[in-house]
Structure formats: C-alpha cells, structure tokens
C-alpha cells in the first residue's frame, strides 16, 4: 500500500471527480492560480483549466450562492470556502437556500453540492481563524456533514458526497493536511455516512472525529499499556448521526467520553451526550464526560492555544474519571 498525505488524498479525490464527471467543477478563493490556501488543489488548474478550477473573488455569499444555483442548473459543484471561519459570511445561502430549497419547493428542487472547508485550531492563527463550528452545521436539517479524519476517508468520502443528491459539508481539519498514512484500495462496503470503530475495547467508549481522532487514538494507546480497553469510535458523519453504532458501543462499554474541539457549551459532544442520556441511561455506569475547548476565543500563543483545546492528557484524565480511577 502506498503512503500519501491527507492533502494529496483530497487532491486525488477531486481530480478523480473532475475526470469522472463533466458536471463537476471546483470553485473558491485561490483554488486555481494560488493552488489553494492549504495547497490542496495545487496542479489541478493546469490539468482542468480555469472553467473547471475556478478562482473566485472575495465574495463568500456570492460564490456559495452561485454554487447552489449551478447545482440547481445540473452541475455538481465542489465549492471550497477556504475555512469555516469565512463561511459565516455564506451561512444565509447554505442554511436558507441549500438546506431548505428541496423542502420549500415540495421536493421539486434539489441542491447536489459539496462544500469543503478547512476548520479547527492548532496553527496559532488566533481568534478569527480557529473556529470549530461543526455543531452549527450538524444542527441544520437538509444538509449532511462529513469530517474525514484519515487519509482513507480524505480520499474516498468526496465521491459519496458528490453522488449525494443533497448538500454535503466536508470539514477538513487544518492539522490533518500533512498527515501521511497508508492508502488502502476503496472497500466495497465503504460508506461515508456511518461511524466506524477505529479501535475495539471493552471498558470505555471514546468518541472523536476529524482532527481529534488521533488524539483519541493515542490516549487509547497509552491506556492500553495500563490494561484499559478503550473503544475508539470515529464519528465521521456529523449529520445524520449514526446513533446505532454509537449506542451499540456505549451499551457494551457502559462508559463514554466524547472529544470535540468546539467550545463545550452547545457542542456536538453535547448532542451525543443528550442522546445517550435519553436512550442509554440505564446502560451507563458513569457520568458522560465531554472533552472540548474551553469557553474562550482561541488565543495566539502556543501554550494558551493548547490549553484552550482538547489534549491527550485531558482525554486520559476524563477516561480515568469515568472508570472511577480518580487519582
């Protein structure tokens, strides 16, 4: 199996989509001549030209809305909104149009579009460039939300998203782009919209997604040394939630910790916790712990950025807490 980076995996997925379907095109700020703000689309302009790898002006609401219109017109746009931070300027189009048109029109008009956005913190980009707003999107009926955490998912999720007749938002965590992993061939049972158990365990369920899956896995690894069996669930699809897989794991381990880089209050971690409190309450042997970001805009200095966001030690502490191992 050859190793490639998360960035390359997404690029190959986009290339494949552009080659496979005339209706697909990539559009966004600096996706073309600049090569993408995180170099994801580097080289694609040369291969596909300015029509299909389209640089846009700084007009988030405008080009996101244009993508929606193009999808209504029979295209299959991949719209890159550089980062989720800037998507705040395009939310009206995404929520009031993309997510709503099918319903408002009584099922007549679909919007088959894919929105790609970098998200998360870790690069010391400070308060306006480090948002994790996954739950804002996961809250909205009419859209689907994906968070590839592995090179494999970066490579294969896009195709499912493009095939989907409804709007799909894909969050690419900024700390993942340089990750290099083995790329397996596409599995016949690959499904972008289901959660996956990344590591089985019997003692506690640890749920994470996107940029935090790897922190969860190393926490599990460290605890394995201490004989603790941590079952790591990669959420992958943030809307619709794959509750079956989640409930099955929690019912088995009876303990759960959720990692989410978003601010804790009102996070997706809270939604998962609420579902367990409603449907698995009698299965729980411990309070549900959420390891999230502190209630503060992300600060610039490394030590404060780290302190503000979920770290392996905190995850381990939370697991020990739900296991009753209080030190």
């Amino acid at each position: 199996m050859d190793k490639i980076s998360y960035r390359e995996a997404i690029r190959e997925a986009i290339r494949e989509a552009l080659e496979a379907d005339e209706r697909v095109f990539l559009m966004g700020e600096d996706v073309g001549h600049y090569g993408g703000c995180y170099a994801v689309s580097k080289g694609l302009l040369g291969q596909f030209g300015e029509q299909r790898v389209r640089d846009t002006p700084l007009s988030e609401s405008g080009f996101v809305g244009a993508g929606i219109g193009a999808a209504m017109g029979g295209m299959r746009p991949i719209v890159e909104v550089m980062t989720v931070n800037f998507s705040l300027l395009a939310l009206d189009q995404i929520v009031n149009n993309a997510a709503t048109l099918r319903h408002m029109s009584g099922g007549q008009i679909g919007v088959p579009i894919v929105f790609r956005m970098a998200s998360g913190s870790g690069k010391q980009l400070a308060a306006q460039h480090s948002h994790s707003l996954e739950n804002w999107y996961a809250h909205v009926p009419g859209i689907k939300v994906l968070a590839p955490a592995t090179v494999e998912d970066a490579r294969y999720m896009l195709a499912d998203a493009i095939d989907d007749p409804d709007p799909v938002v894909i969050f690419e965590h900024v700390m993942l782009y340089n990750n290099v992993e083995d790329l397996p061939p596409l599995r016949s049972d690959f499904d972008a919209f289901k959660a996956v158990i990344r590591r089985p365990g019997k003692d506690v369920t640890l749920i994470a997604y996107g940029g935090n899956l790897h922190k969860a896995l190393s926490a599990a690894e460290q605890l394995a040394g201490k004989g603790v069996g941590v079952e790591v669930v990669d959420l992958r699809c943030l809307r619709p939630l794959d509750s079956e897989t989640l409930f099955a794991s929690v019912r088995k381990t009876r303990r759960v910790v959720i990692v989410d880089e978003a601010w804790r209050t009102g996070s997706l971690a809270s939604e998962l916790s609420a579902q367990f409190a409603e449907y698995c309450l009698w299965d729980l042997d411990a309070p549900i712990k959420r390891v999230c970001s502190k209630e503060v805009p992300i600060p610039y200095p490394a030590h404060l950025e780290q302190a503000a966001t979920p770290q392996v030690e905190e995850i381990i502490a939370a697991i020990n807490y739900v296991l009753g191992n209080t030190y």
Partner: protein
C-alpha cells in the same frame, strides 16, 4: 424603440395583467377570511413588469423572483389552481403547500421561486447562468428583486460575478420606491441605477415600469443582447406598490395623497385606457376578458378549497432526496 404587437397580443397583455390583479384581489379577501395565512405580499400596481419581461422569455429560460412573486408565477404560466392551492397550503399546491405565498416553485416551468430572503436569489441566478454557460446552453436566467435589495452585499457580489464571468443573466430591479417603510432616499446614497451598473461595467436601462409595452420592448432587446453573448444586463423598472408591503402594513411612512396619485398611473388603468382610446378593444371584449378571468379564478378557488392537506405523517418528507432512517 418600437415593437410590433397584433391586437391579439395587446389583448393578451391586458388579460395577463388583469388576471394577476384579480387573483391578488381575491387573495386579499381570502386573507381576511383567514384562508390564506402567514405573509402575503401583493404585486398590485407592478404587474406590467412581470408581464412585460416574462413575455420575452422562452420556456428554456429561468426565473428567480422574491416573496412578491404571484404575478411572476402566473405570467410564467404556472397552473393558477396550483398557485391558489399553494396559498391555501394544500397538497395540490405548486410546492405541496409547504411554501405558501412566499415560496411558489415550478421546476417544469423553470420557475425557481419564491425566495423570501432579500437579495438571496441573486447569487443563485448567477449560478444558474453559470451552469448554462458551462453546459453550452444559450439560455437567459432572469432575476427579479426590489430596489431595497440593492443595498445588500449579495447584490454587489452578484453583479460583480455576473460581469466578471460574462454570464447570461437579466437582472430586473422592480423599483417601487420603498423597502417596507424605507423610501429609496433613506436606503441608497446614490439612486441612479445606471451609475450603479456602471461600477460593475454592466449594461443597464431604466424604464417606466407602469408601461407594459415599454418594459417588454426593453426586456426584449436586453435578452437579445444576452443571447448574443453580450453578458448580463440590469433593467430598472420604475413602479409603485399600490397596496401595503404585506397585509400587516399600516403605511405610516407614506401619505394617502401619494398613493392616490399613483392609483391613476397604475399599469392596468393606463394600458386599458390607451387600448380603448385607440380603439384596440371594445367594452364587450373587456367585459368578456373580465368574465373569463373571474370564471378561471372561481375554479381556482374551488380547486384550492377542495384540495387535501398533506398528511401529518409525511411531515419529515422532502428534507432529503432519500428520507433518512
């Protein structure tokens, strides 16, 4: 410029405007009877614009309108019964009743709503035109919006994208002088549409929106230019809203005198008078048209009255193409 219309054409224009007028007058009644609920924005006084512009569109062209879109829907030839049923929120409505007055859609007619966020449809119109351009289809996408929408950032971004990418869009600004209760001079620092259009390098025209023939002539020329690849065009139609912004409007912001003056300048009064004076239509023909419209309208109301509501069990349908388990 002149366009040549046969007597039949002229009758058709009048009928089309009258049909919209009578439809909405009925809607206003039905609103007071609480058959129609929610927001109801009447197009009364502005009919010449939808009729004049849509007249020059082919069935391959697309239309994006606002929450004040009944006139556009009818002018586009949507089934008047389905539109009325939509006002009632019935399953036989053009959007299964889920949209109501503000969200009339008909994909088969390339009628894309029915959009209730001011300026929200402009970027979509740009994208629809982009889809045509990329697929090599020579089509026009028309997009109607009020003068109040011009202050929104989305207007700015859409104008720029349309010209930058040379997209086949006909932007139609329905300038009725008010955005709810805000008069144009309180919302725009520069009111000349030509000057605004120039700042994007967009071709533009400003016409009397009360004159259906003038609107049709201008729209015709602009669509031709678009089809010839001359890029997007902005058509401003000066008009006036003879009724309140919506059924809730107490109209504190304008005087009765002002409204009165405009009543005599309405698109139907003027056109009908001109047809009569120039002998293009007789009183009998007029009465005949009114009768036919009245009948059609009566049938539409009966249809809507009898139409079923959607089943509550189906509430969560049409959120996704394949309903999620």
């Amino acid at each position: 410029m002149k366009i040549h219309l046969s007597k039949a054409d002229l009758h058709q224009r009048l009928r089309s405007m009258l049909r919209i007028r009578r439809f909405e007058e009925r809607c206003a009644e039905l609103y007071t009877q609480e058959k129609i609920r929610g927001f109801l924005h009447l197009y009364i006084g502005e009919e010449a614009i939808a009729v004049g512009v849509i007249e020059v569109l082919t069935e391959d062209d697309a239309i994006f309108a606002t929450y004040r879109e009944h006139g556009h829907a009818l002018a586009r030839g949507l089934d008047i019964r389905a539109v009325m049923a939509e006002m009632y929120g019935k399953q036989s409505g053009s959007s299964l009743g889920r949209g109501g007055s503000m969200h009339i859609f008909d994909r088969s007619k390339r009628f894309y709503g029915g959009n209730a966020i001011v300026a929200g449809a402009l970027p979509m119109a740009v994208g629809m035109a982009l889809a045509d351009q990329l697929q090599g289809r020579n089509r026009v996408t028309s997009c109607f919006f009020g003068e109040g929408a011009v202050a929104e950032g989305e207007f700015h971004e859409s104008m720029n994208l349309a010209v930058l990418w040379e997209l086949p869009v006909l932007f139609v600004c329905e300038n009725n002088g008010y955005a709810m209760g805000t008069s144009l001079d309180r919302s725009e620092s520069e009111m000349s549409v030509a000057t605004k259009a120039a700042s994007y390098g967009m071709a533009s025209r400003s016409v009397d929106g009360m004159n259906v023939i003038e609107v049709e002539a201008a729209a015709g020329e602009m669509c031709q230019a678009i089809r010839q690849g001359q890029g997007p065009q902005l058509l401003e139609c000066q008009t006036y809203r003879l009724r309140g912004h919506s059924m809730f409007d107490t109209q504190l912001y304008r005087s009765q005198e002002e409204v009165q003056q405009w009543l005599d300048k309405g698109p139907i009064v003027l056109f009908r008078a001109w047809l009569q004076q120039s002998g293009y239509i007789t009183d009998d023909e007029l009465a005949q048209i009114e009768r036919e419209i009245e009948e059609e309208l009566q049938q539409a109301v009966e249809f809507a009255e009898q139409a079923p509501f959607e089943r509550i069990e189906d509430l969560c349908h049409h959120v996704y193409a394949a309903e999620l388990r």
